[in-house]
């Protein structure tokens, strides 16, 4: 529960700060939305940048026919071919890349898993297991609306409880390599499919009074997450200026799988200690099940 509170408070703090940032950036534009619309003509030269657009020719050819939408000042929706990226130009202030898809991304969030394994029962009063999730990806644009973002992920969670009055604790680290595919539906919205093969470290302990030392069971196992979700650049949707960094809220849902781990506890003593042969077998732990991940991502 401490871990859950920590994670929740971290995410909420992050979200509130992100929202506050969005609102702070929004404050200068508290004028009616018309004023924003009035400034749009300043960006109209965008189609003129066609020669410098690195996007594929098909997208580039579609760009002139696109209608510049007030809500999407730097990009366009093509009713036939989906999202068309805006042209890039060094002539305008801001990033030199298309910040709606070609970006570095770091995220901080919470991963919630539903672990139905009986081996998880000693460590939690319910099936929920929350972890703080941190990661970074770098997007490589494959086509107009599709990008691929490899990266790294680290997730950490902790559960503590009592098993028949014996304090227990379970810590899980996940170090994963991210393979994320993105389909950009809009300048502020993309859907994603993510595969994260990972090394899963579980550290379990139980303070059983019948043992003279804390009993532990630590192990590395292989695991993989498969999730799908969406990312929404909500500050920009709300009208915040196109500034760097930008903030996204990302939601994913999927299945997290990892290899079984036996819970054959033994005392946390040296190998030559006679007590080292003591074992307490509480079955198998399978840290797998449905999961969701909610995070706030910063792109730059």
């Amino acid at each position: 529960m401490r871990a859950l509170r920590f994670v929740c408070s971290s995410v909420l703090t992050l979200l509130v700060s992100a929202t506050a940032m969005a609102q702070e950036e929004q404050e200068p534009t508290t004028a009616p939305s018309d004023s924003a619309t009035q400034e749009l003509p300043a960006l109209e030269p965008a189609p003129m940048a066609e020669p410098t657009t690195p996007a594929p020719s098909s997208a580039a050819s579609a760009a002139p026919s696109a209608t510049v939408n007030a809500s999407h000042p730097a990009g366009a929706i093509d009713s036939r071919q989906g999202y068309a990226p805006p042209p890039m130009s060094d002539a305008v202030d801001g990033p030199s890349r298309d910040m709606s898809r070609d970006f570095w991304q770091v995220h901080l969030g919470v991963r919630v898993g539903w672990v139905t394994s009986e081996g998880y029962d000693p460590f939690s009063e319910n099936d929920g297991f929350s972890q703080v999730s941190m990661g970074a990806t770098r997007a490589f644009v494959l086509s107009d609306s599709i990008s691929f973002a490899p990266g790294l992920l680290w997730e950490y969670g902790n559960a503590a409880s009592k098993a028949r009055n014996a304090p227990t604790e379970l810590s899980v680290h996940r170090l994963g390599a991210v393979a994320e595919g993105r389909l950009h539906l809009d300048r502020d919205l993309y859907v994603l499919a993510k595969l994260v093969p990972q090394a899963v470290y579980t550290g379990a302990s139980i303070e059983e009074d019948s043992a003279t030392a804390v009993l532990v069971r630590n192990a590395w196992r292989f695991g993989v997450d498969a999730t799908a979700g969406a990312a929404w650049n909500f500050p920009r949707t709300l009208g915040v200026d196109d500034v760097v960094p930008q903030f996204w809220v990302v939601g994913e849902f999927g299945y997290g799988w990892s290899m079984n781990q036996d819970l054959a506890f033994s005392p946390d003593v040296d190998e030559d200690d006679p007590r080292a042969s003591t074992t307490l077998d509480l079955g198998m732990l399978s840290m797998r099940g449905m999961m969701m991940r909610i995070s706030v991502a910063m792109t730059f």
């Binding site: 059983e208 009993l215 307490l280």
Partner: protein, 530 residues
């Protein structure tokens, strides 16, 4: 702000969803253990909070195999059968019962050989809290000690269960013994007695003012009640019985001593004179007067025939009474002995002619009384063991093949030198062993090879090889509560020391080569597995 609210609600929803799927309540229930029992090839723990019996057996590698079985709620008594092959668990069930599905009181019988199978369950209509087990393992008698807490209790009601038969309308069989105000205090199962009407096994019920005899071979017949006085002030303190000469069926006898009377009641089984009586045996009663209250007694065979030998507390003499004539013979003793045990079968030099040898023990050491010389040459019949000068509080027998050994445990009060003795009846030697313990508990192995000594709630223990008298001291990791010597799967034996810490632990040692270094510590015996 509404977006941040939405996000907050989303996070809160996730948090709530993460609380789905509660674990079994068992994980939140601490183990409560009051009863443990060592059995033939396993040991049992009763986890009262989970209403389960855990039977553990030991394999060749000193690992434990665990079997968990359901048992009744509110366990009040646990006993092992005399052969240690079955476990009896008496439960009160759910009291009060509110629903028809609420559990009734019951006697649960489990296999003690390691499988832990529930062999029988005898359901009772009312909760009882005391249990007496037949030394031959067939009968179990349940009764109330008066502390069951029931609104109304009939303390004279006995439930007789024949464990060789399945539960039925007459098994358990309730029997209320006739009472003149007394209630049962002790139950004694006799071996088969050759009575005038045939061979019988009897249940002797000592109340706090009289005596009742129940024919175990004819449980449908009324009990025989023997009133020891008219004013009900005579309180039985113990019984002893004899079948007499095997070829005769008119010399089975029963003797009763009391708490305060300077006399012993001698009951002889005779043919039933009353044709309308339900029982086919009668009793004649003789009262044998003494100068003080007897502290112990036994029927003994002497060179003069069957006698009732009686010891009087604080008196340096014994009295032999001819049960046929009630003629008394005084035998002077060199010391005051309070207790008597027959050891004829355990010694190598038993007198010719079938006379007995008794071991006298108690306040002032130990002596052997050769009853082959008791009548004619009484002064030559007593042999005192000079090395034992302390008060002996308890004598523990050793099973075959070392049945000639007795372990003498001193009284805590008279703890001279903190010595205990291993007495060899074959050569009448007593090996003194010293202990630093302030109180001593011991467990003798069923194979008669070893005795394990320990002090409760201490980490120290020792095993004494009963052949060589070699002690080996062990210091375990946790305080010891109970010690068992049980058979291992695949052969050999193991010592199991129970630790009542947390969810129970056990140290298992190879009984044939005890060594802390090779001991296996098992922890959390009642942890998990739900």
């Amino acid at each position: 702000m509404k977006y941040s609210h939405a996000i907050f609600v989303g996070i809160a929803s996730i948090t709530l969803l993460s609380g789905c799927g509660d674990r079994p309540e068992s994980w939140d229930t601490p183990a409560v253990v009051r009863f443990d029992k060592g059995l033939e090839n396993s040991f049992a723990l009763i986890d009262e909070s989970m209403h389960s019996v855990h039977l553990f057996s030991v394999d060749e590698s000193l690992n434990l195999s665990q079997v968990r079985k359901n048992t009744g709620k509110n366990v009040v008594a646990v006993m092992a059968s005399p052969q240690a092959d079955r476990l009896f668990v008496l439960s009160k069930g759910e009291q009060p019962r509110r629903k028809s599905s609420d559990e009734r009181p019951a006697l649960w019988v489990y296999d003690g050989s390691g499988s832990g199978n529930l062999l029988s369950k005898y359901t009772l209509s009312n909760p009882l809290d005391s249990i007496a087990v037949d030394p031959e393992g067939r009968f179990v008698v349940l009764y109330s000690s008066g502390a069951s807490g029931s609104f109304v209790t009939n303390r004279n009601e006995l439930l007789v269960i024949d464990t060789s038969l399945p539960p039925g309308d007459t098994n358990p069989l309730p029997r209320t013994i006739r009472s003149f105000g007394g209630t049962p205090q002790r139950l004694t199962f006799t071996s088969p007695l050759n009575l005038p009407s045939g061979q019988r096994r009897l249940l002797i019920i000592e109340t706090d003012q009289d005596l009742s005899l129940l024919d175990l071979d004819h449980l449908d017949r009324k009990e025989v009640t023997v009133r020891l006085s008219n004013d009900y002030k005579v309180v039985p303190a113990g019984v002893t019985y004899t079948d007499g000469v095997p070829q005769r069926n008119d010399d089975a006898r029963l003797a009763v001593r009391t708490t305060k009377e300077n006399s012993v009641f001698l009951l002889t089984f005779v043919p039933q004179a009353n044709a309308s009586a339900e029982n086919d045996f009668g009793l004649t009663v003789n009262i044998i007067g003494l100068t003080s209250t007897p502290s112990d007694f036994a029927f003994v065979n002497t060179d003069g025939g069957l006698r009732l030998a009686m010891l009087e507390a604080g008196m340096r003499r014994a009295t032999l009474v001819d049960p046929d004539t009630t003629t008394e013979t005084q035998v002077d003793m060199p010391a005051s002995f309070g207790r008597i045990s027959l050891v004829t079968r355990e010694i190598s030099d038993a007198p010719a002619g079938g006379s007995d040898v008794a071991m006298l023990w108690g306040y002032e050491g130990v002596a052997f009384w050769s009853l082959g010389k008791s009548v004619g040459q009484a002064y030559r019949s007593i042999e005192v063991l000079p090395d034992i000068d302390s008060s002996v509080g308890n004598v523990v027998s050793v099973p075959a093949p070392n049945q000639s050994l007795k372990i003498l445990v001193p009284n805590d009060a008279g703890y001279g030198g903190r010595r205990f003795y291993v007495l060899n009846l074959a050569n009448r030697t007593a090996s003194p062993l010293l202990t630093s313990a302030s109180s001593l508990s011991l467990t003798v192995s069923a194979d008669g090879q070893r005795a394990w000594f320990f002090q409760r709630n201490s980490r120290e223990m020792a095993v004494v090889d009963l052949l060589t008298m070699h002690p080996q001291n062990l210091v375990l990791e946790q305080p010891i509560t109970s010690v068992f010597d049980i058979g291992r799967a695949g052969g050999g034996r193991a010592m199991v020391a129970l630790h009542y810490q947390g969810n129970m632990g056990a140290t298992v040692v190879d009984a044939f080569s005890p060594d802390e270094a090779s001991a296996r510590m098992h922890v959390g015996l009642l942890q998990g597995g739900f």
